[in-house]
């Protein structure tokens, strides 16, 4: 393995930052949600890279758990978005501002 592990960590950081910008910039709830998925995947990549660096499988198991939690999170999140769309007929997060003062 000739590639330094820090390359993978930097790539993961770049993907995480792109996901963060996506969450902050976009207005469509579904695209925001996809950006969150991108962030989760970036963290998974860092976990697997550290697992490789330290020579044990704890990082891979943690990435596995994070995938399961992400799957559960996607189900609930999409149900919430569908529910909001039914009530407000929009997927724009700016329009769902009932609690805004």
């Amino acid at each position: 393995m000739k590639t330094p592990i820090s390359y993978f960590v930097v790539l993961s950081a770049a993907l995480f930052a792109i996901g963060t910008v996506g969450v902050l910039v976009r207005k469509n709830a579904l695209v925001i949600f996809m950006s969150v998925e991108l962030q989760l995947n970036a963290v998974n990549l860092a976990l697997v890279a550290f697992s490789r660096l330290h020579g044990n499988l704890n990082g891979q198991v943690l990435a596995f758990f994070s995938m399961v939690v992400a799957a559960a999170e996607v189900v609930v999140g999409l149900a919430i978005i569908v529910n909001v769309y039914r009530r407000m007929h929009t997927a724009n997060v700016d329009d769902a501002s009932l609690l805004r003062w």
């Binding site: 330094p4 950081a13 930052a17 996506g22 207005k27 579904l30 999170e73």
Partner: protein, 183 residues
Amino acid sequence: MAPDQIVFWVFAPVSVGSAVAMLFQRNAIHAALFLIVNFFTLAVFYLVLGAPFLFAVQIIVYAGAIMVLFLFVIMLLGVDREESLVERLRGQRPLAIVLGLGLAAEIFVAARASLGLARAPANFDQTVNAGGNAQALSHVLFRNYFLPFEVTSILLIVSAIAAMVLAQRERTTTDTEREVEPA
């Protein structure tokens, strides 16, 4: 150049490029397709890093199941309209981009300071993954992480029930009132 270096330098630009393309895509479906490309490149990185089981799980669960769910909801809601460019908070977009770059730079500096150019041990497949990655992973999972594994099953049941409750149409008075009113 070692094979893993070639794979990294081929797929890293694709990975970052597809993520950026997802960010700038106006159409939600195109954004989802770019995200699928990104998930595939991440799966390739898992393979390079000695995690073939996670490679398979990444493709089956993420690129397969989760993204199909996303595309299904996008089609269900029909959100292919243009996104509004009105800013509720003034200066949110530039500030978000600057802070995102700052975050990336911060992690870059931290990785450089702590890891440097440290290389992983070469014999990962002979020592840790001996007898197969899936077997080794199952040993760790079912011995050291058995309780979290069981808790995960509860989480999955709870989220399935939550999704059913949330997505259920309310069959109370509102529906009957709506039927009485001429649509």
